[in-house]
Symmetry: C2
Subunit: 436 residues, 2 copies
Amino acid sequence: MSRIVDVETVDLRFPTSRELDGSDAMNPAPDYSAAYVVLRTDHPRVDEGHGFTFTIGRGNELVVAAIEVLARRALTWSVEELAEDLGGFARHLAADSQLRWLGPDKGVLHLATAAVLNAAWDLAAKIAGKPVWKLLADMPPERLVDLVDWRYLRDELTPQAALELLRRAEPGRADRERHVRAAGYPAYTTSAGWLGYDDDKLRRLCREAVAAGWDAVKVKVGADLHEDQRRCRIVREELGPHRRLMIDANQALGVSEAIRWHRALAGLDVHWFEEPTSPDDVLGHAAIQRAIAPTLVATGEHAHNAVMFKQFLQAGALGVCQLDACRLAGVNEAVAVLLLAAARGVPVCPHAGGVGLCELVQHLSIFDYVAVSGALDGRVVEYVDHLHEHFADPVRLRDGRYLPPESPGYSARVHPESLARYRFPDGAGWAGSASS
Amino acid sequence: MSRIVDVETVDLRFPTSRELDGSDAMNPAPDYSAAYVVLRTDHPRVDEGHGFTFTIGRGNELVVAAIEVLARRALTWSVEELAEDLGGFARHLAADSQLRWLGPDKGVLHLATAAVLNAAWDLAAKIAGKPVWKLLADMPPERLVDLVDWRYLRDELTPQAALELLRRAEPGRADRERHVRAAGYPAYTTSAGWLGYDDDKLRRLCREAVAAGWDAVKVKVGADLHEDQRRCRIVREELGPHRRLMIDANQALGVSEAIRWHRALAGLDVHWFEEPTSPDDVLGHAAIQRAIAPTLVATGEHAHNAVMFKQFLQAGALGVCQLDACRLAGVNEAVAVLLLAAARGVPVCPHAGGVGLCELVQHLSIFDYVAVSGALDGRVVEYVDHLHEHFADPVRLRDGRYLPPESPGYSARVHPESLARYRFPDGAGWAGSASS
């Protein structure tokens, strides 16, 4: 039996606030960051599993500290046990009753759980010699169901009903895998519409996006209604009538404000309205969804666990499920949400961007298509063209579609040179910076 | 103008798991702990504000680290500004957009915010020469309304409606203050029914509770249904038919399980069923409340912010609002929840016990009675007879009722000897312990 012999963590931060990349109504100056972890093993073939969670700067050190606390719990499992029983391993990680008090299942500790579980999946997939999406897509339905902690989900979906759902999708797995390998998985871009860009840059980026073949663009809104009207009109002009325009308020608005905002953009044919209000407000989102239909409410990048998604689905509070590979507790909880969404027929369009989120969520969406929902309609994975150069196995886009990753693992590994350069606060990338 | 010149933090932990005090279905072996903070000032009269948040052991160090991150933001305000504008100060603390990503408004960072704000209130109350409940009860309605962050609450309660509610309660303030000073505020005890105690100890403690004048006792349930039936029968026997029996599952159950549990205890006249399931599951609690009426659903000790309470109230998902003075972001967010609950006519019965929670919540409930709800019916503050000896201004109970604190401040100060003895891991109280 092999063991995890060492845990290395890195407080990795990129000084993105210098350029206002990623600026929105709630996050005017993010430094895209990752609380990064390497599980080192004495396994004869696979010596490392890499994982991370995403933050936007300050406080990343708290998540790193939480990873170190949690990773101690990983050391009691052999690598083989972990790779065989990723459901049990996830439940083991979450089972420290004293740590649970700090959540439960939310905030710093849950983000740290995501990093550790993502690293465990990277390790298990490398041992299996497959990318994570393929490891998942090859699992029998019983094993997939066992990945999930069902304690609080059974009133919405029983393990038995999940099993039946997965069995119904089984016959088509091979065909869909061939299809996605050939055609890729559809994507959309957020790169054009950050709030910090001026009108000229916005127009130029939209034009470039259209020229590059994108048929959907998302714009950040929520700080000033008149500006948003002007900016969204620019984007609609550049997109023409048939491409999709999405807006994203990043939680800046109250419930009635969000409804008023949407009304003020009438005529611009908004496809979805993302994060209109507090991510905790299931009933508020339900009220907004009722008011803005047929525009869809999209949310999930801050929905912290499967119990929240369960309720969003039960309340009809979202039309687009934007799970996050690092906000949820890793692959296991993402699988739970994919099952919940598929059972309700709600499309999953994962949140991406940030640091490495595109690298992770492509695995989840491709797995969803091959083995869970079996569907592509209404489904797109976010794409932002930031920071991919730091990854050893970066995403590959072709004609606005993600090509399935081929290397074993979870595409989570950051180049050693990038880890060294952007290690906060002592990396050379931070030299002379006043940030803290 | 005076300044906060230093911030001291203490990782304070009591080795309560050695005695199984506080054991329940989710928390088999808690070490009651406080992430403790002292704001030191150069104010001519008041040199310190003390605050803390409560945890149950491991991970307390993460909250302490988060307090240190947040407290840096406190240093930019003068003591006088802070004491004059506690609403603005609270919004300032929460306004770091990078830190917000780690919640928002939940988990480790929100617990840390509670500690810092509680210390700020202790400081402001000492400057005013009043206990916190009296500082609040003397504030004009406009100032009370300004304590709250209304961004996500307006669809349920507008600031204007809150103002009117407070104005309606104003004429009776003086009478109610006299009454509560004379008669105290009603309490109930949880000391009898911890899960780790055997039947004989349970029976003896119930008998003692009745003899001591308690007319309500709470029992921990949720691990084993047959055991719970036996234990609850013992408690009902000792209480007689007229005293109140409450049960508390500490989130151990799923939605349908909780309903089954309640059904199995039929005939024991359960007054409330506390934390039946996941604290995030508003809709689940609503389903349970519909199924178990007239037994009331009680929850709140893990409801992490006012947006959650807003929804619990909107969905009719609770009959008893158990806000927590350290889970919510300090006095400000507690005031928000008191207003929301009063507007719906739902009684607030705060969660207490732990380390110093009784010391804090008495202020909130007494303020609620004097200036918000103006009511006592259905209201009781939890009382647990643990660890009060470590506080400089401990709660005073008389005939099962809390007597209003008289010393200026928030009753939050722990004796220096206790801070030294139970500082983790190096205090003498932890010498030779294997815990970590």
